[in-house]
Assembly symmetry: C2
Homo-oligomer: 109 residues x 2
Amino acid sequence: MTNASALLDALAEPTRRVIVERLSTGPAAVTELARDLPISRSAVSQHLQVLKAAGLVSDRAEGTKRVYRVNPEALAIIRAYFDSFWQRSLAAFEQAATGHTATASEEPA
Amino acid sequence: MTNASALLDALAEPTRRVIVERLSTGPAAVTELARDLPISRSAVSQHLQVLKAAGLVSDRAEGTKRVYRVNPEALAIIRAYFDSFWQRSLAAFEQAATGHTATASEEPA
DNA sequence: CGCATCCGTTAGTCGTAGCTTGCGTTAGTT
DNA sequence: AACTAACGCAAGCTACGACTAACGGATGCG
């Protein structure tokens, strides 16, 4: 679950990104989510299963409804993933520009 | 190409993520990339076309070779995307915590 | 108690992304 | 000029994933 690749595999689907974006503004139920999407409720449910298996969302039974919400920790992992990713690419970019290896003279803030 | 969705569509493919990870450590040519991958050189080339179309990488002819490198700006966009994303989810999470009870339900089993 | 709502699951169809193969092109080497 | 290495491109095949449809299980309400 601490693997960013598994999380990104789940976020590969555009529809799932929309769902997570929607859930990032607050919890929602399945039918409620499906109402704003051009697909069936069943499809939304299946997407939620994938997101849940990846650890991106969690669900909670509330009466007959089932409320889903995002897992901030999962987004934090992805965020950290792309952060180090970006820094590495910047280092390589700097190196290519200056022509010699960078000596880690960056300010750590 | 300032759209994060287009960038994420390109990074949906696991192989393409490996390629970009590899390129984030420094530029490389097609055959050089294909050497470490279980797919053909042509497949790698096709992946690079997708990444290039998304603006994630750029290429430069160097003799008979074609050197690819990552575009740090593209990674910065994705980074910013997940950053705001994460902050929104945190805000929603905090609101849910303070709005209801502090020691409320946690595990849905 | 029926009845409606909300949801997960399964089976099954279908589009498409990813891969290989083969070919043509360009650049470098002798 | 001949040969080789490094690519891109196009056609064709295959497998996977997204979707729908139909079902059954809970929960809530009259």
